[in-house]
């Protein structure tokens, strides 16, 4: 277990700590997933290390049966538990979509409010490690397009802690997304006990000329581009959405009404992605105030290639974000 007094920790440590603190605070919190218990190494990347040792069978390693244990999470949630279900990688959500979309998301509504599903789904993804076409996808738009679901994604350890606790305390199903390289990147440590409710974006850097609206890896590239552009006399504001569904319209629109220019960045494919929704909302609300059309950045329109040079070309980069900012500046 991690020490919250340390000044920095990785997102992996922050998530471990958030699960620990949530489990310590509320015994209805349980964790289900492949290899999550300590005899199975506390997860493939050790993110739940120590939890089963401390909390016993409230942490259970499951068979490779995502429909089975996602459904078990749904059922347990209806019966008053607050399950965290870990799906090892986001691509594996494809084998349990029914339980998430047709059940977790809908049961509150279809039961007329008699039942609800306080389920937190944690999963990770992201390109850059040459794992090829089936281990890196970002399908958050599927869930954002599903009424009844919340979707969030932190870009740093402190947010990860607070947002995960916010999901676990939320009375509706939440999908919590983890960027694999972020898990191993140190950042300012969270203040233990902080709960960030779903739905709140954060201005990660203030600026006045252009707004970069991003989440996950997009925030990293956004901040890097902002830094580089600052040296060129361009003042860039970076909004870390954190919450994808619901979107924090207020924070987005406040920023863009100030700057008049926006670039949306995410690692998911550009077309039909979350960026389209953000861009549409900005155009709808700030038509006439915009100085340039909103630019969207995402990964290339193909499966993730294996070879490093192609994988790099596939992913967005800080340079690409910088170029898009310049496009908005005309």
């Amino acid at each position: 277990m991690s020490d919250s007094k340390a000044e920095t920790m990785t997102m992996l440590q922050a998530i471990n700590l958030a699960m620990h603190d949530a489990m310590a605070a509320d015994e209805s919190v349980i964790l289900l997933g492949e290899d999550v218990a300590d005899p199975e190494c506390g997860g493939v990347v050790g993110i739940s290390k120590g939890l089963s040792t401390e909390f016993g069978d409230r942490v259970r390693s499951t068979p490779i049966s995502e429909q089975g244990f996602m459904g078990a999470g749904v059922g347990a949630a209806i019966a008053g538990m607050r399950p965290i279900v870990e799906i090892m990688l986001m691509n594996f959500m494809t084998v349990c979509m029914d339980q998430v979309v047709n059940h977790a998301a809908k049961l509150r509504f279809m039961s007329g409010g008699q039942t609800n599903v306080p389920l937190t789904i944690r999963t990770m993804s992201g390109a850059g490690m040459q794992t090829g076409g089936q281990h890196t996808d970002w399908t958050e738009v599927w869930f954002a397009h599903t009424a009844g679901m919340h979707v969030v994604m932190p870009s740093n350890p402190a947010d990860a802690y607070g947002m995960l606790r916010g999901c676990i305390e939320n009375d509706d199903p939440c999908l919590f997304l983890e960027l694999i390289p972020a898990l191993f990147t140190p950042g300012p440590a969270p203040i233990r006990g902080t709960v960030i409710p779903v739905g709140k974006a954060r201005v990660a850097r203030e600026g006045s000329d252009v707004s970069i609206i991003a989440y996950g890896r997009g925030v990293w590239d956004g901040l890097a581009a902002a830094e580089s552009l600052a040296g060129q006399g361009v003042s860039v504001e970076v909004v870390d959405l954190r919450s994808i569904s619901p979107l924090d319209d207020e924070t987005i629109l406040n920023s863009v009404s100030k700057t008049g220019r926006a670039v949306v960045v995410h690692e998911a494919l550009r077309s039909f992605g979350v960026g389209a929704e953000v861009s549409s909302r900005i155009h709808e609300h700030l038509f006439g105030q915009l100085k340039a059309p909103v630019q969207r950045i995402g990964s290339s329109e193909c499966p993730t290639p294996f070879a490093k040079h192609m994988e790099t070309a596939f992913l967005h980069s800080a340079e690409e974000v910088e170029t898009a900012v310049k496009v908005t500046l005309g």
């Binding site: 078990a72 347990a76 019966a79 279809m110 039961s111 007329g112």
Partner: protein
């Protein structure tokens, strides 16, 4: 039927059978008369199964059922006025009219989920039982599904998980020999679904689900096992559906002789005859039970039809804990 259970047990069980059957009749006639508009998956022919199963369940025990599940809900004790109001789309319905026939939910009666997705009742039932295992609340969960559902992945994953974790759950496969229009044999490679229990190191039993005593016994053993920590059981309850997959389906895919034989063995009149033969009830007794049930059904229907509709703003409620604007 074999050795007789007590008269009281049988009369209580018959009361449920009668209520389910008469309720189904009335639903069908209301729909055909155009007074009720909804997709309807009749349970006519499958009345015995939930009547027997629910004899061993408390109100606190959980069930999960499917679109063809109104018999399960009625047997478990969902109040008929709330049920009818839901089917009529009224705000007084179990789900305020938002769920409808395929999503009847009534936690007070232990009816936790009704699903329209084949197979999905199984993992959810596993989850309810998991909660009970954590809470040590002594509850048992019954997960209902059809024969066709035994060929979908959720069945396999759910049963394996329940066995590995030794959960207090009973899987009741109501085998009516057809999955929509596809016969058991065309879709299912094994001779009997109960045999699949061996894949999960779980007791599996095929029982005549139209035989009240046999069904009562099989449910008793399985539910006792679950309640006492003995883990899950798969029950394959053999039955038949008389009114097609959904209302309007003429069952043209069922061979005439199969249908005839099934009708000749209609479990409800057969049960009535048996009760009389057994000396447990006179024909008058049965009529009086039926009459009382009809009154309950009539008044539930009247209650439903005289209830209000929810305001359309309800579509902004219950999507999340907070209301949408």
């Amino acid at each position: 039927m074999s050795t007789a259970l007590d008269k009281d047990i049988h009369l209580e069980m018959y009361r449920k059978v009668s209520l389910i059957k008469l309720n189904d009749d009335r639903l069908q006639s209301e729909i055909l008369a155009g007074r009720l508009v909804m997709p309807y998956y009749s349970t006519r022919g499958q009345e015995i199964i939930p009547s027997a199963v629910s004899m061993h369940l408390t109100k606190e025990d959980y069930i999960v059922t499917i679109y063809r599940g109104i018999h399960d809900s009625v047997a478990k004790g969902v109040p008929l006025p709330d049920l009818w109001a839901e089917l009529a789309g009224r705000v007084t319905g179990t789900c305020k009219g938002k769920g409808g026939p395929m999503h009847i939910t009534h936690p007070e009666s232990g009816v936790m989920v009704t699903t329209g997705i084949v197979g999905s009742s199984i993992p959810i039932g596993v989850g309810l039982a998991l909660a009970s295992q954590y809470k040590k609340d002594g509850r048992v969960t019954v997960a209902n599904f059809g024969d066709g559902a035994s060929n979908i992945g959720s069945f396999h994953e759910g049963l394996n998980l329940a066995s590995v974790w030794k959960l207090p759950v009973v899987f009741v496969c109501q085998n009516n020999r057809y999955a929509e229009h596809t016969s058991y044999e065309k879709g299912t490679s094994c001779g009997q679904i109960a045999d699949r229990a061996a894949s999960y190191n779980m007791p599996g039993v095929r029982v005549d689900g139209n035989d009240p005593e046999a069904m009562y016994q099989a449910a008793s053993e399985a539910i006792d096992r679950a309640r006492s920590g003995g883990g899950p059981t798969l029950i394959e309850a053999m039955t038949f559906r008389f009114c097609g997959h959904n209302l309007g389906d003429k069952s043209s895919y069922i061979p005439a002789d199969e249908m005839e034989e099934a009708k000749a063995n209609d479990p409800v009149p057969r049960y009535q005859r048996w009760l009389v033969e057994q000396g447990y009830a006179s024909e008058a007794d049965i009529e009086s039970i039926d009459r009382a049930n009809k009154e309950v059904i009539d008044s539930a229907r009247d209650y439903a039809y005289s209830s209000e509709y929810a305001d359309v703003s309800e579509i902004k409620r219950d999507v999340y804990a907070y209301d949408l604007d």
